[in-house]
Symmetry: D2
Subunit: 134 residues, 4 copies
């Protein structure tokens, strides 16, 4: 698992990523199992035309958390091959959190899950495949 | 299929949605089969930490196009139940386009596909389930 | 949660389902959280052309376990809207087990996860949407 | 694209695969775009406990067709990384057909779609990722 300067550099990479910054994604916490939690204080910019949070916001946060968690656990960069998200409840405001769970790390491919919560309730579930970059 | 004032109102709803505007999503065209194309001129704000377009950008554009296409075809509002996206190529810049294809419209659920292109090449494929709102 | 005669009837329905019987799917156990484990002793009939267990076998077992778990938890019949499975390792033989986890039960739709194990290792992960039948 | 003896050998591999034979999967046709159609005459053995065709049957047929189509197009063996299927209509009988469509063939990963029809209507849609075996 990454630690020290290598982890600090990975941290800066995720926190400075332009699209993550555009949305307002913030660091949450590291978990002992290698997982990462990222968070996002919601505001009006995150809404779709129906006045609830756009699904793309939750997907972006979950993808970032899972990617970060894989990079931390495996110790190298990765790219999303595919991602599936189930939306469980409409979200109108508060702070979104996304937490990564490693399911299986192979030599080239990694499978991971993610859970998105808001105000104490789970609002989305993610299952995704990443490819490790050489 | 929606037309006239009802379609104009749906158009305004998608084009004025805050998150779509934050990203810079623009209208593309209507297709005779009911499909809709939306587009997004890319800039630096859409990048992830690796200098390519964030997967959340492509997902958001595809979700918006598919949702708009369903609303136009079925004539009512809908919400994303789940969405799966496969990323086919890294994207560094240009104009993204996403086009919706209706697969099956049931009484309560609608299944649709989406294709995302950039500079003449397909960069993502989407398969998704929506629920119709009463 | 279903119990007594209603659960016995549900049990017979799943155990007598022709395709489950064709594969050789057996009951495993009930979990306190409402989950269900089903199992499948593998033999040569379950293989694909490459000499490993066909992905359709693992999907069928996982779908049956999740469906059973939802029916038990929610107390009524359900049908698969869509299902996504990630295969984590090739399987050559032994006993497959699939265990269901309820993620979110709505009024009409239910989201659930499933894990498939073989000989102590996880071999597949499932994320799926079901519709409740009236 | 595979042809001649290499294609004949691939054909035998898919038609003789034990699980495909257990279900009764038959060859359909080759398409000029590299796609493959497989078919399955349905009988009572394919049903679930509700008297309709088990989702695992459609998934298995679609997975086999897509896998065969990729192997034919790319000229080598492949394995399913993950597969997502949307069920569009309940199926009670007739002949199922599944047709593959290549979406994107990379150096290591291939993305493909599949459509399952029965008696003139589409009954399932598939989006899947395969890994090429060396």
């Amino acid at each position: 698992m990454l630690s020290g300067d290598a982890l600090d550099e990975m941290h800066r990479s995720y926190m400075n990523a332009p699209f993550n910054r555009l949305l307002g994604i913030e660091f949450g916490e590291y978990h002992d199992d290698g997982g990462v939690t990222l968070q996002l204080p919601l505001d009006d910019r995150h809404q779709n035309g129906a006045g609830v949070v756009h699904g793309g916001v939750m997907l972006t946060l979950a993808d970032a958390a899972v990617s970060y968690g894989i990079a931390r656990s495996v110790g190298g960069r990765c790219t999303t091959v595919e991602i599936k998200i189930n939306y469980l409840r409409p979200v109108t405001g508060g702070v979104l959190t996304a937490r990564s769970h490693l399911v299986r790390a192979g030599r080239r491919l990694v499978v991971a899950r993610g859970e998105v919560h808001c105000e104490g309730k789970q609002v989305a579930e993610v299952l995704t495949t990443f490819a490790l970059l050489d």
